[in-house]
Amino acid sequence: MSADKEKLLAELDRCVVEMDDETVAGVAQEYVDNGFDAYDGIVNGLSKGMEKAGELYEQEEYFVPELLICSDAMYNGLDVLRPHLPKDAGHGSAAVVIGVVQGDTHDIGKNLVKIMLEAAGFQVYDLGRDVEPRAFVDKAKEVGASIICLSTLMTTTMHNMKTVVDLLREEGLQDKIKVMIGGGPVSQAYAAQIGADAYTTDAAAAAGWAKAAAAEEQNQ
């Protein structure tokens, strides 16, 4: 790798982790102007920075405001790099369907998980908030997703997570599509109780689990 490329990758990484959301687009532009590979720029530049931001979040160095600005930087960089990806890029990256379950509109947590999943290279289909159970299953089938991520902050809507798990069972998809849950009132015990595959405590942990699950699936 040329020294210039390495320098620019490090700069993309730094822009994200240091919340430099204004400089990043210029750096990304310089990177593509030099003819460097856009995919590399995402994986070894922007995503790397976002992963570091996720680590800082786990270590309680960063909190939600910091993580949001890091993600602004990441997306600003992505806007420049993405048009330069070869047409088949993204094929082969695992798909995830994500949303806040029906009856709840608290979506900060869900959005953070989405950010970390995208940084980890997943193709994320975000159904938004207040999403009915059937929509998760239908979307996962449509896009061939192997993971559904469900979020809620409210006790009154937790049961909709179970409905999604049950729908997958009814259709015999429980081995094909894994379910990860998260949010304030949810716990490991609740995940076990409803038959969800995983409970994770925060966005970085969620992306970590998804990566491990995707790797495991590839090895099978």
Binding site: V64, L68, D72, T155, T157, Y190
Partner: protein, 376 residues
């Protein structure tokens, strides 16, 4: 323990003081019949009596009926007229849009402050604002129906929580890094609004208690540094203002992680703090128990709503062991609101355990019940 046994056992531990007598005596340092406790508002218990949250919201008759039933079933204090704006009311009064599902709590779907250019035009006038006037009208009606005898209470949310009821949370959280000046302007505006509300209420009802909650100031959203930079100075203004109006400083509940700011809360002068179940009550007691009355923290979802009778009893026991000898006093509470759909037997188990293990409670001392049963 099964429900029948619980019912039978419960009879061995009757209350011998009223809530008011107990609170007063406990505050004065006298031994009381059992540990004081709180058990959520009527809005959380509606389903037990066959009502939906929607029916409860719409009908004063239902609210009166439930207040009476909760008084006899769950040691409630009877009907009160509340003008507490809770977490979202101030935002709604200013123009944020809330929805009220028939079978669930309300929530905001649209936030009024799209850009800070609008901030100077946002008017918070309790005398003319339709939402606030409706709240006042309801309180007046409740008071009239009780012949002016019921308690009137007010309150609302802290600056951070109110700010994210006015401006979309993710935008406001970004403002705290990218647009600090305006973030402070909005926080200051929330304080001025809250103080207007407290003043307006006190002008009409006399000096009344104020309750505060500020979940958005927890470490689940912001760092200790940001708490000190943004939340703390405005909380300080709010408390000073409330003290000027009412002569006292209110207590506070903050959901979520708060360990890093306990000392700040004591320093701000909060006389009491209700802690979430994600924190350790013993640690809270050790850190600030000599400065604030503390309360907490039976887990609302995993234990109270989804646990067994025995889970609830065990959790109450642990809370009493960890918290009841806190120097400035302790009251048993749930870590947050009681979830809708919590079964009756678990609420009764909570009361049973409070009466049994929390009997003979005195500020600064472990409950006599714990000692007599060799639990501490």
């Amino acid at each position: 323990m099964d429900y029948q046994t619980l019912k039978r056992e419960m009879q061995n531990y009757p209350d011998t003081m009223t809530n008011a007598e107990r609170m007063k005596a406990y505050a004065m340092g006298q031994e009381v019949d059992r540990i004081p406790f709180t058990l959520g508002g009527a809005h959380s218990l509606v389903r037990l009596y066959g009502y939906t949250p929607g029916q409860f919201r719409r009908s004063l008759d239902v609210q009166f009926e439930l207040a009476e039933k909760i008084k006899s079933d769950f040691c409630g204090s009877g009907m009160a007229a509340s003008t507490n704006l809770s977490l979202r009311g101030l935002g709604e009064a200013l123009g944020s849009k809330a929805v009220y599902p028939e079978d669930d709590h309300d929530y905001l779907v649209d936030f009024v402050l799209k850009d800070y250019g609008m901030l100077d035009d946002l008017a918070f006038d309790p005398a003319t604002n339709p939402y606030l006037q409706k709240r006042m009208q309801t309180a007046r009606e409740i008071r009239e129906r009780t012949g002016g005898k019921c308690m009137v209470v007010t309150g609302g949310a802290g600056p951070m929580t109110t700010a994210i009821a006015i401006r979309q949370p993710e935008l406001f959280l970004r403002d705290m890094i990218r647009d600090k000046k305006n973030a402070h302007r909005l926080l200051d505006f929330t304080v001025q609004c809250m103080l207007k509300w407290v003043q307006y209420n006190c002008d009409e009802f006399g000096i009344i208690p104020v309750a505060l909650a500020d979940p958005a100031t927890s470490a689940n959203l912001i760092s200790e540094r940001m708490f000190r930079e943004f939340s703390k100075p405005h909380l300080q203004d709010l408390l000073a203002g409330i003290k000027k109006i009412t002569g006292t400083v209110p207590g506070i509940h903050i959901c979520g992680r708060t360990k890093h700011i306990w000392k700040d809360l004591a320093e701000l002068g909060f006389p009491s703090f209700s802690v979430d179940n994600c924190e350790d009550l013993a640690e809270l007691k050790q850190t600030v128990g000599d400065k604030m009355k503390i309360s907490g923290n039976v887990p609302p979802t995993t234990v109270l709503r989804n646990g067994t009778i025995d889970d609830v009893i065990e959790s109450v026991k642990q809370c009493l062991i960890k918290g009841s000898d806190s120097p400035c006093g302790y009251s048993l509470a749930v870590g947050c609101d009681v979830p809708l759909g919590t079964p009756r037997e678990n609420l009764e188990a909570y009361i049973y355990a409070a009466r049994r293990y929390g009997r003979g409670a005195q500020k600064g001392k472990l409950c006599r019940g714990l000692i007599e049963e060799h639990l501490a």
